[in-house]
Symmetry: C2
Subunit: 348 residues, 2 copies
């Protein structure tokens, strides 16, 4: 097995975190961004909340002028479809059952986390984040931390960009990839004098949920979009794939840990290898997943059978990933970079 | 009526144009880009071709290494769904019934067109244009002509960008908006030192087919995406809307002619007014369409009940639009800009 799970997983659970306001409860912790800051390891958690539920009703929050407003439907309303725990369909419209924001926790040992004082949560703001913000990747560069995350609103789901140096002040840099797009990971340095990012546009008919590459001179404006990897029919990554955190520079090329889901919404992890000088060239790819949901906390939970990562740290050959398990708890696992690279197939 | 149709419409029909190669027939002419060049008015037509059909079969072309290759299905294959004349569905995959390229015709009087010698068609090329190229907008600037068009391939449908000064040599500038995106119109000048473009991302679930604005320092890389107009439930533009050609600068603001379709795929034209200094601000919008399919050639054809424009010329108060009617023939109509502006509703 490539993945060595931390024996005391999960490392953070919903009960470890306080709700953002009275009347709300934390349903899930998901998919943290990961970074080093002031000699500690930090997670930027996605915290999904909803109001304490009343019998016979489904209640969920949306943001108006930055403040949560509660919407409620009767559970027996024939127009209501709440079969998916993540999404409510009502009269053809989609709402999220929970509202997500981002929360900082930090650790000295990489497995014991606490919420430090003085670091405010990052809440959704403005019309592009009415349904919240999700799944933040943190790319660390010399000038500071570059955050890409999912902006969710009735007008669509796109990629937002924030910049910070101190985790107390944030510069909002707008939506950098328009709907429908998520899973954006910015490379931590320029290649041939341009920045690169992986992202995941979605198509309703022609096309699919594939990983694309884009270029930028300034991280704000992006072009030259090219598809680097598609889903594979009848494989574990047949329905959708998306980038994890920023690619890891290795002697063999840029190594990207990605998630792949099948049509039963089972999420596994795999890896891609991209050419060092031209990251639009896919060199190698996982045939089997490098990690599949097998532990109990990965099989059952808010949305079971899910492993999803978008944050890690690298120390020499050791890759430590933090991941959301069953869309509910945060876990940790370690890999050897060499072993991952050795496992990749060069015949694509 | 705001629209004055040219009495001898259509101005160009499929029979006026030669197929690009032997064995192919032109099914439709669609949605031309429009520009002035060497004192003539030019249309950059979308020409949709398919192979001469054999009985009992559906045959259509795809491009491989820039050359058309014919795919055929038996009409009685139970896996085949050819109910939509534009799209073939086979085993869950989507193909186009026709392959489109772009063709130049020019005119001295604006209504009599011919194919000039020495100007080659623009054909799809490379993996992003396997299913062809469509619906080109031409934005004329001091340095030359900036072309935005739809790149269609199995990996998705996105916006391509070409630049030319002489209509004989083209600089390929890549995909500027990733899937699913089309209907991109670049403004013909900078506002507050940045370029702007309208574009139309599509979302499979949350969101829809709305008109968005993007910014760019160099026309190649785009960011700060914001939604400027959405569809309106139970209106003529309830299912999808998309920009026409480059916005027209008027004393009241940027005037944009757009198309709106309802859930029965009836396409009409409307107008939007955007703030001169901040085109992300929608000031006014058509309540009723400025033009609806009513003429016989607009009601019936390859795909009936369709008026679609992405090209026009402005002379003083006179706006002359060229448009695709019923996805089959090219027509012309004239408007007064003042009358369109007067018709817009400022209460949004």
């Amino acid at each position: 097995m490539l993945a060595k799970r931390y024996i005391n997983n999960p490392v953070v659970r919903p009960s470890d975190i306080k709700p953002s306001m009275e009347g709300m409860q934390i349903e899930c912790l998901l998919n943290p961004g990961v970074f080093m800051f002031e000699d500690k390891l930090w997670l930027l958690l996605r915290v999904a909340e909803r109001p304490v539920q009343k019998e016979g009703q489904v209640s969920f929050p949306v943001l108006r002028d930055g403040k949560p407003e509660i919407l409620s439907f009767m559970k027996d309303d024939p127009e209501l479809d709440d079969a998916d725990p993540r999404v409510i369909k009502y009269k053809g419209k989609h709402f999220l059952t929970t509202l997500s924001h981002l929360r900082l926790v930090c650790s000295d040992d990489g497995v014991t986390f606490h919420e430090p004082e003085g670091y405010a949560p990052i809440m959704g703001t403005g019309p592009q984040e009415t349904f919240g913000i999700e799944d933040c990747r943190v790319t660390t560069m010399e000038d500071g931390y570059h955050l890409t995350y999912t902006k969710v609103a009735p007008e669509g789901v796109g990629v937002g960009y924030l910049f910070t140096t101190d985790w107390k002040h944030y510069e909002h840099r707008g939506m950098i990839f328009p709907p429908h797009n998520k899973d954006c990971a910015i490379f931590d340095r320029k290649t041939s004098d341009v920045y690169h990012a992986l992202h995941r546009p979605s198509s309703p008919e022609i096309g699919g949920n594939y990983i694309w590459l884009a270029e930028s001179p300034d991280l704000l404006h992006w072009g030259n979009h090219r598809c680097v990897a598609t889903t594979r029919e009848n494989w574990w990554d047949s329905a959708r794939i998306g980038a994890g955190a920023a690619p890891i520079s290795t002697p063999d090329g840029w190594l990207e840990i990605y998630h792949g889901a099948d049509h039963k919404n089972r999420y596994c992890l795999g890896a891609l290898l991209l050419d060092t000088r031209d990251p639009s060239k896919l060199i190698a790819r996982s045939s089997d997943p490098i990690m599949e949901p097998t532990a109990e906390y990965e099989l059952t939970g808010f949305f079971g059978n899910v492993i999803f990562t978008n944050g890690h740290v690298v120390n020499g050959d050791k890759l430590t990933i933090y991941y959301g398990a069953s869309d509910e708890v945060i876990c940790m696992a370690e890999f050897s970079l060499k072993e991952i690279l050795k496992s990749l197939k060069h015949e694509l």
